[in-house]
Amino acid sequence: MRRDQEELSWRVGGPQGSGIDRVATLLGRACMAAGLHVFTRREYHSNIIGRHSYLDLQIGTQPVGCHREFPQVLVSFEAEALCRHLEAVVDDGVVVYGAQDETTELNSLQFLDARLKDHLQRSLAEAQLPATAAGLLQRAEQRGVKLFPIALTELIEQLGTDSEVGRRRAARAINTVAVAASAALTGLPQDALLRSVRTVFKTDVPTVALNENAVRCAYEHVAQRYGSVTARPWLQGRTVDAETICLNGSQSVALGKLAGGLGMQTYYPISPATDESSYLEAQDDDERGAPLVVQVEDELAAITMACGAALTGARAATATSGPGFCLMSEGLGWAGMNEVPVVISLYQRGGPSTGMPTRTEQGDLLFAIHAGHGEFPRLVIASGDIQDCFYDAMQAFDYAERYQLPVVHLLDKALASSSQTLARFPYRDRRIDRGARMEYLGPDSAAPQRFALTESGMSPRPLVGQAHAQHWMSGAEHGSDGRVSEDPEVREQMMDKRAHKLDQAAREIPLAEKLSIHGDDAAALTVLTWGSSKGAVLAATRRLNEEGIAVRAIVLRLLWPFPATELNALLSDVERLVVVECNHSGQFNLLLTQCTGRGADHSLVKYNGRPIGSDSLYLALKGVYAGGAAPRLVLSNDYD
């Protein structure tokens, strides 16, 4: 009961292109205006219009950082959404749907996956229910789910007449009608939603009017049909003020890059990385200058053009996903060989090959660490949540310039497309570190040695274009003057020099930048994770801790150089170690075993393209705690 007063999970499903994002913003904003925290998660197909897509909206009186697999409220404006999500709704949950979908036969849904269709038809037959949406609804009702059919077709008709725009135009507001009906049923004040409509559609007067009417129409309909019935108690929030921001991971990375002084970003369009570059591209110019964003012909050009810019002293970056990063391997090697500070934001998606372009995975960890032929240093960091995205993107440039190497910033689709309410980032007290630079040289100075041997491994960096600082560089092995050399001793010196920078990074980077610890070491279970699984791990461990099961979570940020020394110390007394990550082979666990000799007692993996939610992880960890769990556990989604 207590949880119900603190959090509410809402799922909205409909066809792609029907404005799911728009209603999410409407509803999210209304919740935020009511003082509530919001976390949203988007799922969609690699498709422009028509395929099923949905959104999870987790609302809380306190900050929320993860979705739940089992929603309390389901809003549907297509029959397919009912098929995919009804079974996930909690027993005391609420379903708000278009009454016209009841008669839809499962067989008529061409995009419903055969496996799911089969399963649903079989279980309906067993329960002697019709193989229609109505059958599914009936079955849900039997286990306690409350149904609220809404006469969407009639409401759209009426909205078209009332707004004098006709049925076709009114149909575009079907999403608003459905969501407003669910809002009315859960007691969200109508005013909050109306205000939200005005904020979201701004100066588009006809759209504001249509959507305002849609909201009123839905609230009236609910009042007439259901009277004062409230499906769920509304949450009492007051912790979100107008200063709070709501942003997704792509935006957060972009802002972090801006704060870090990004000068130039290159990109080739690829899901799910493009949104970040588009956001940067849309920045207004000011006296200090918006970054130059360049869309290029392919990822070979993206990384090499960013390198070219970095040589001149610009803070340069590129953003891509796995397939693009494959093409970047050769450029990454050049950056390693020439000690170029360049940042690659790598938004992982389901692989290999084209894989699942719009679904998430943490499948590129080992690739990020090993990409490229030969041996060269690179730093790999991973962000765990939307706030981390900001600071990590900002600091990635500092690492890149301090250690003069490429930095791979691991992100993924889940982070990119989830959004969250957060306090504004106080970034101004951060210090920017530009690394060792070659001082001003006079006209008679000796030619600078770009790769001069030093104790730290880092050579003061002359820039291309710096006065009197002409120097050479080469992707071929070179001497300290940057010219090709195949002298065996020079080769050893240069390999040592480059490798040494990574040792230096491992020594210098403070513990707090390598990992974060949540909970104390007396815990019965230690859960180790990295990247976007952080949200689920923290939410699930909090739930377990509330139940008296002490669980400690450790979230890795620096993945390479691997913080082996620190983990050895932290894990020395751990009895039961669980590693949680979204890939098939348990890549982090493999890395941990390789670097520390200690591996997980239980490797929890998920690789179906959907992020880990707090419900399933909570249950899995509870199982591990109870004992007898297998060493490898796979988290799944039956319906999606």
Binding site: R29, A33, R198, K202, D241, A242, T244, C246, L247, A259, G260, G261, G263, M264, Q283, D285, E287, R288, G289, A290, P291, L292, V294, E297, D298, L300, A301, A302, T304, M305, C307, G308, A309, L311, T312, G313, A314, A316, E330, G331, W334, R424, F425, Y427, R428, D429, R430, R431, I432, R434, L463, V464, G465, A469, Q470, H471, W472, S474, G475, A476
Partner: protein
């Protein structure tokens, strides 16, 4: 090229780095190197205003023999590297050099798409018909049926025409020279650098070690009945490559047809000189300034990002306001 003239007294020698040179004796690369040195001196640039990017292959080593900034990049990627530096620091004079395999085979995607960007840089394509450094395989400009000495049989692939391809891709200056005619090549290099957009200078170049078909004597036409050089100058024959700013579509189309015809000439008469000089095409650097006025004074390379204490200068206030949950 940016008008940032220095003391005009520098000689070609001021651009020459006295590093040991490992090109084969008689290699056409030497002529190209001399032409670059002389053109830079004539333009009164100083070595620290110039960055030379090299691809991979014999030609890719050119930067080592120059006292400018010299960056030896990756096979096929010289154009994006060079473009990145130019975009970040438009004050630099940027020259990219590479072989015909580098530019037209492994780097073909960049060759074509650079034409779409029309960034102010000079691309010198060393065209000798073979991959020299890997010992003489056919490169993309070797014609169908030709067989150089390292090949097991005649080439079964057709040749790419760099001039025609550049024309189609949108290069705004296209010229062709001959590695052993350093006087003409110097003049062409100078024009290419001065051109305010993307310039392609193709240099016909014997490879004395692997290409026995197109050697000095062949270019000199010694096998012809007339025994006169195959090479002739377009400009000496009155060909006008210029399309002025504001030229209309019909005029450009007619000019393109003429240029394309010239690009197809080969065999007994091979044109050199300037094929194409299009001043009507938009230029990326100017479009960037139009969209982001700050770029003119504060390009990425020269932008202050932190104050003297190292604190960031970025102002995210507007972004935060747009993302704030409060009503606007």
């Amino acid at each position: 090229m940016t008008e940032r003239t220095n003391d005009p007294g520098l000689s070609a020698k001021a651009f020459r780095a006295e590093n040991a040179n490992d090109w084969c004796a008689g290699c056409g690369d030497f002529g190209i190197l001399r032409a670059i040195e002389r053109a830079l001196a004539r333009l009164a640039l100083s070595p620290d205003q110039v960055a030379v990017f090299g691809g991979i292959g014999c030609s890719g080593k050119t930067p080592y023999y120059l006292k400018t900034f010299g960056i030896h990049t990756l096979h096929g990627r010289v154009l994006p590297f060079a473009t990145g530096a130019k975009l970040a620091d438009p004050g630099l004079t940027v020259i990219a050099v590479g072989g015909d395999g580098d530019g037209l085979s492994i780097g073909a995607g960049h060759f074509v798409n650079s034409g779409r960007r029309n960034v102010d840089l000079t691309y010198i394509l060393f065209d000798n018909g073979v991959y020299g450094l890997t010992k003489g395989q056919a490169s993309p400009t070797l014609r169908y049926g030709e067989q150089t000495k390292a090949m097991a049989g005649p080439s079964t692939l057709a040749a790419l025409n760099a001039v025609a391809l550049a024309l189609a891709a949108g290069y705004t200056w296209i010229g062709r020279g001959y590695a052993y005619d350093v006087a003409q090549l110097t003049d062409l290099t100078e024009q290419a650098i001065k051109h305010p957009g993307l310039a392609l200078l193709v240099v016909l170049q014997p490879c004395p070690t692997y290409n026995q078909l197109h050697d000095k004597d062949w270019y000199a036409g010694k096998d012809l009945a007339s025994a006169t050089s195959r090479l002739y100058s377009l400009q000496a024959e009155g060909y006008d490559p210029v399309i002025d700013f504001g030229a209309d579509e019909a005029f450009i189309e007619q000019k393109m047809a003429g240029c394309l015809r010239k690009s197809q000439e080969w065999g007994e008469r091979i044109p050199t000189g300037v094929f194409w000089r299009n001043l009507a095409q938009p230029r990326l650097l100017e479009d960037i300034v139009a969209r982001q006025p700050s770029y003119a004074t504060s390009p990425p390379a020269r932008r202050p990002i932190a104050d003297e204490r190292g604190q960031p200068l970025a102002n995210l206030g507007k972004c935060f306001a747009e993302l704030s949950v409060g009503d606007d």
